[in-house]
């Protein structure tokens, strides 16, 4: 084990016992894991821009904003276990000319502070960046209190709020950089911080424009967050069975890239959405809202059924709910009538 990897294994909620049970990231250096680039990237941004402020709610060690704290102690605020105060305080700061990044578990910002995000950040059109990490069921056996499988549904009904999922470490860097001068409030959804790599370099992105990662005509898999890796691996597996899948990283949930969805409907044989979220209200629902105005084609929303997750390690949960590559492959085959 390299020193870099060793360091990556020591953090709260990122510890070695969890790692063995999570998605496999063996061999991935820390510099390529989202959990370890967040503080660094924000620190770099703050070097260049005096408006950048970072805050958390007693989770600096989990989200690694500790690196930012060490580099910019005067621009870092830990508000303790008081998330609602943190989000609203961020809005106050933003109204006075700063660009605050407020990071905590997705369950404790998007869900706990939904009203503060709507009323204080979005209604006021202020540049608050809410960073919801450990989203979905990536907290595994910590249980439903620590899962966020409803956050996209809640956030995307808030007018004026930009809702973005980060795919991997390089994509997170791209999202953070692009967020700095983006108008209005943003909800930025992150996984557990060790999401498998999709982008070998920091991609060029524009909010509201999906990234087409693979071409294919038989079906389109539209995925978001860590499920993009699963979708790509599923597409590879499907290719071995003679099925060519287009894969789209729909990282912006709002505003949605409707043109990309219409293109998929017009140019490919079926559409499968994949997300680590309740199938009600998230990416699949958003895509469905566009598809009802298109010509009919086979379509399936794949994600968490409308229930609370079993207790289990993340890798076990992803397999159980068919959100890993074999699971997505199987669901795609069912959709195409070949399951």
């Amino acid at each position: 084990m390299s020193n870099e990897e060793g360091a990556a294994l020591s953090g709260l909620f990122t510890g070695v016992s969890d790692l063995q049970e999570s998605r496999s990231v063996k061999g991935t250096p820390a510099s390529r894991l989202p959990a370890f680039v967040l503080g660094e990237e924000l620190g770099d941004m703050a070097d260049r821009d005096p408006r950048v402020i970072v805050m958390t709610a007693d989770l600096a060690s989990a989200n690694r904003t500790t690196e930012f704290r060490d580099r910019h102690p005067d621009r870092f605020f830990d508000f303790g276990i008081a998330e609602k105060n943190m989000i609203t305080t961020a809005a106050g700061m933003a109204s006075a000319g700063l660009v605050p990044y407020a990071a905590t578990f997705a369950a404790f910002c998007a869900i706990l502070c939904a009203e503060q995000i709507r009323t204080d950040c979005a209604y006021t059109d202020l540049p608050v960046r809410v960073l919801g990490h450990h989203s979905g069921m990536s907290m595994g056996f910590y249980g439903t209190s620590h899962h966020a499988l409803e956050d996209l549904a809640m956030m995307r009904t808030i007018a004026g709020l930009t809702v973005v999922c980060t795919t991997d470490a390089n994509h997170l860097r791209a999202v953070l950089r692009a967020s700095l001068d983006h108008p209005g409030a943003m909800y930025i959804r992150m996984g557990r911080g060790r999401d498998p790599e999709v982008y070998g370099a920091v991609p060029e992105i524009a909010f509201g424009r999906a990234i087409r990662l693979r071409e294919g005509a038989d079906l389109t898999i539209i995925a978001t967050g860590a499920q993009v890796r699963a979708a790509l691996d599923a597409a590879e597996s499907l290719a071995g069975q003679g099925i060519q899948a287009r894969v789209v990283d729909m990282f912006t949930i709002k505003p949605l890239d409707e043109a990309e969805i219409r293109a998929a409907a017009a140019e490919t044989g079926a559409i499968l959405t994949v997300e680590e979220h309740n199938i009600i209200g998230g990416l699949g629902s958003a895509v469905a809202e566009v598809l009802v105005e298109c010509e009919r084609l086979p379509f399936r929303r794949h994600g968490m059924p409308d229930e609370y997750a079993l207790i289990g390690p993340p890798a076990g949960l992803y397999a159980h709910y068919r959100l890993d590559a074999p699971g997505v492959t199987a669901v795609a085959l069912e959709l195409l009538g070949r399951g």
Binding site: P50, I53, D74, R75, F77, F79, G80, A82, K84, N85, T88, T89, A90, A91, G92, M93, A94, S95, A96, G97, L98, P100, E115, Q116, T119, D120, Y123, T124, D125
Partner: protein, 294 residues
Amino acid sequence: MVERSAAHGRNFTREFLEERARFVRLETVRLTKIAGAGHYSSTFSAAELLACLYYGQLRINPAQPDWPDRDRFVLSKGHIAIGLYPILADLGYFDPKLLDDYTRLGSPFGDHPDMKKIPGCDFSSGSLGHGLSVCLGMALAARPQKRDYRVYCMLGDGELNEGQVWEAAMAASHYGVQNLVAIVDANRLQIDGATADIMGVEPIDERFASFGWEVRRIDGHDIDAVLAAFDALPQGTTGKPQVIVADTIKGRGVQMMELSLNWHVGNLVGRDYDAVIEEIKAGLQPVAATEVRP
């Protein structure tokens, strides 16, 4: 004559501030009639506080609402925006005629204030319990920008039921935010009854003190006392956060409304309307009630 000079160049007397408080009450009655319903009594309890703040204390420039070095004021008890709008209009933030369409379709002015639509409104409010956190953020933002403005937050006593207020209170003292000034309009009533009966909040002063705040407790209808409390605020952005607990009477200035549970939201019509206008014009009379009335 109040012995006090206005830092921003306004000259004022106690009589002038009393007259501006009457103006707040009269406009509240007029605008409520336009809307058909309004928050009379919780605006009346704060009339002297609002007059003293805007005409005697805040470092503001109505010609430049977004002046970065201005003092901020957030009406955390946003339901008394009806008392704030006339002051902003009077100071020149916008044309007073705009208020003639108060709450009508497309008006910038609703029962709760919208910072995106109203020049001079530093933050939107209405959901109780948020304002102190907003002000904490504004006050902290002065530090990296090396500014020396103050941030004033007006809360109700019923609002202190909200847990987020105490999250903000704890954080404000933790970070030593001395340029944060909370003003509690302690008018003793909330919608369902006396605060003491619904959800007791006293002793407000001791509770804030135990959270690490510098506390002053005054009669919120006594203009000299309000100005003296403002004068006693320390300079500088770091130290203890400051709270002024203003003991007030909900409905003050209209005797039938004083400490009455019936007038949180209401609409005066006919002779009642005319009588209330005359009563307000006559100035504050002796307090009609010392206990909460049904």
